[in-house]
Amino acid sequence: MQAISFDVAKLLAGGLVLTSFLMLYQVRLPAVLNVLALHSLILALAVAWQAHVQSEPALYITAAITLIFKAILIPEALRRIVEKLGIHREIENVTNLGITMLAGVGLVALSLEVMLPVTMHADLLTRTDVALALSVVLLGLLLMVTRRNAVSQVAAFLSLENGIDLAAAGAQGMPMVVELSIAFSVLVAILVIGIFLFRIRERFDSVDMQALDAFRGDRR
């Protein structure tokens, strides 16, 4: 039983890392959002599995929030934004895909190298979850810096946040996981509303962050 529960947890956490890579080389916005939905779905499964293994019913709530909010509602809202703004076109990456992928592999290696030795005293389940969670966080950061489009930056931030949720769920017996995930969901919701509210398209005629940079005060 122990072996199976460990294997499944590892499979799901590994799946999350893999999906992060998948997101890394998507060049079209709708595809990025599809992968994001998949990413959140895998996270929901991983959290639910942790809830089952740790017999921690509160984690089921986190899994449910993840499923409804991040796997369905947020990607749908972002899809509508993309449609409304008419930005189905390709995303320009800052660096080319090959180098980005290589950097991603490096980051995963780095996080395993860093986290596995220091979590020696934690149990096996926590160890892999936290190490892989750090990979997802770092890949999310990489995504954020390689994307220049506001929508895909939000998607990247969501994937980063999924990594943190995975770590929180993997840390056994951590109090307030549900509260923290709710607080985080509020942050994300406001991010998405922010794109609407700030009417980035209308105001700047572009959701391209490079165009935004041009307005910086001192060069007025």
């Binding site: 020696m120 923290l180 942050l187």
Partner: protein, 477 residues
């Protein structure tokens, strides 16, 4: 408990009320009254301290910050009342936005007070997130190109910082679990610091790096500072005042708590060198960048980065003297910088611009306002007899005794900043009168109160206060 209800409950209640009140005159007054009640409640913490629990702690360290934060919150609410009436006249803000603005102001005060009193490191994180979100809303309130860009940038960078800080928080919990077991105790700071000697040092180290980068983004340390100048320059000036005076301090306070945790664990790396490098980098970078500023609020925003650099440097040097100087500098920087922003807010309103080139001879056209600004800038650059001189002198002299080379860096940074600020000040305050010379309806009381306190601190520091700070400095390790 009543004191805590005043510090936390009043802002929360006021936020709800203010969102419901349509009249801006009434809500500006209510904003002031609520802030005054919170301030008096904070003062009462000196005499009667509520017993802490797993969620709330009131100790010698955070009482100082709670009082400072509610005081600056109160004076800013007074300044804000006169500031916004002018913004309404010029049509930059509408009554609907003001309702939102006042409610958000109290939400921010609630978030910051909650962060300061929270014992649980998860709650601390949630509170800082709340304070960040409310300030993002206020930075974007003018809805101009620049304001929206500033708010978005602040939002994205702040969110990433906050996310990394949460990862660090989770790692701290993981480090504590073998020692404390699961449950709420595993995240209570008082329990953590008591058992830190048994934690896994390697895990604590990595956690601290995440926390330093995460909360360091909110402190505005170089190279994570990019949001700070924009957020200060494009939002309403009362918000610039509280951003610089309070929010940066709250994030730094969170860092100090975790630093204490690290110091309590003998095997962990010393957090000092990391903080020294980041602090010195911020100081020197901001010192150089000050020369290229064309916008007056941006100028003082960079000065905030510079001061945060000095403060982080001082806490990095640590020791009773370094911590003492850092604390003093934190308090005095809050008071001085918010006073400067009060003055700058009125100056920008009179002149109708924030461009330094279009502002001139303030001390001639508006003597009281102009001279307040001159006094404020003299204080912030560390000229005697103001309090900042005392704290900066302490930082430099204590550093010279222990690491002369580092002290040279600090002195260079301070001189750079001094030169830049005096250069800009000379054209803004003195020289030919440029820009409109219309009458100004300024609220001088908050400005004078802050500057008087800074002056008093420079001339005479009361013995009980010195003793208190020395006590905290020892606690900080």
């Amino acid at each position: 408990m009543i004191a805590l209800a005043g510090v936390l409950g009043v802002p929360a209640l006021a936020a709800v009320l203010l969102a419901a009140i349509p009249s801006y005159r009434l809500s500006a007054r209510l904003n002031g009254v609520a802030s005054l009640i919170a301030f008096s409640a904070a003062l009462s913490l000196f005499w009667s301290r509520p017993r802490g629990g797993p969620l709330i702690v009131v100790d010698d360290l955070n009482v100082v910050f709670i009082v400072l934060s509610t005081f600056v919150g109160f004076t800013t609410s007074l300044f804000s009342a006169s500031y916004i009436s002018h913004e309404l006249q010029t049509g930059r803000l509408t009554p609907t936005y003001l309702r939102f603005y006042h409610a958000m102001f109290q939400v921010m005060m609630f978030g910051m007070n909650l962060a300061l009193v929270s014992n649980n490191i998860g709650l601390l994180w949630v509170a800082i997130e709340l304070a960040t979100l409310s300030t993002v809303m206020m930075v974007g309130i003018y809805r101009t190109h620049e304001a929206l860009e500033a708010a978005w940038k602040y939002f994205i960078l702040g969110s990433v910082g906050i996310a990394l800080a949460l990862f660090g928080t989770i790692l701290i919990y993981l480090a504590a679990r073998p020692e404390l077991g699961g449950g709420v105790d595993g995240m209570a700071w008082t329990a953590l610091v008591g058992h830190a000697h048994g934690f896994d040092p390697a895990l604590l180290n990595i956690a601290f790096v995440f926390l330093l980068i995460g909360y360091g983004t909110k402190v505005g340390l170089v190279p994570m500072h990019a949001w700070l100048p924009d957020a200060h320059a494009e939002g309403p000036t009362p918000i610039s005042a509280v951003l610089s005076g309070l929010l940066l301090n709250v994030a730094l306070y969170a860092l100090l708590r975790f630093k204490m945790l690290l110091s309590a664990c003998p095997g962990a790396i010393a957090p000092g060198p990391l903080m020294i490098v980041l602090g010195l980098m911020s100081l020197l970078f901001a010192g150089i960048m000050l020369y290229r500023r064309r916008d007056i609020k941006r100028l003082f925003a960079y000065s905030s980065i510079e001061h945060m650099g000095i403060i982080v440097f001082a806490f990095g040097m640590a020791g009773p003297l370094g911590n003492f100087a850092g604390l003093l500098q934190m308090v005095l920087h809050s008071l001085t910088k918010s006073a400067i922003f009060f003055a700058v807010g009125h100056v920008a309103q009179v002149k109708g611009t924030q461009r330094i080139a279009d502002i001139g001879g303030i001390s001639e056209s508006h003597p009281l306002l102009g001279w307040s600004l001159v006094v404020g800038v003299a204080a912030i650059t560390g000229l005697p007899p103001f309090g900042v001189f005392t704290s900066e002198f302490l930082i430099i002299s204590s550093t010279f005794a222990r690491a002369p080379l580092l002290a040279v860096g600090v002195v260079c940074g301070l001189l750079l900043a001094l030169g830049a600020l005096l250069l800009r000040l000379s054209s803004v305050a003195f020289g030919a009168v440029r820009g409109p010379v219309g009458p100004v309806e300024a609220s001088y009381v908050p400005m004078f109160a802050h500057l008087a306190l800074v002056l008093i601190a420079g001339v005479y520091l009361p013995a009980p206060m010195v003793a208190w700070f020395q006590h905290i400095a020892v606690l900080l390790g």
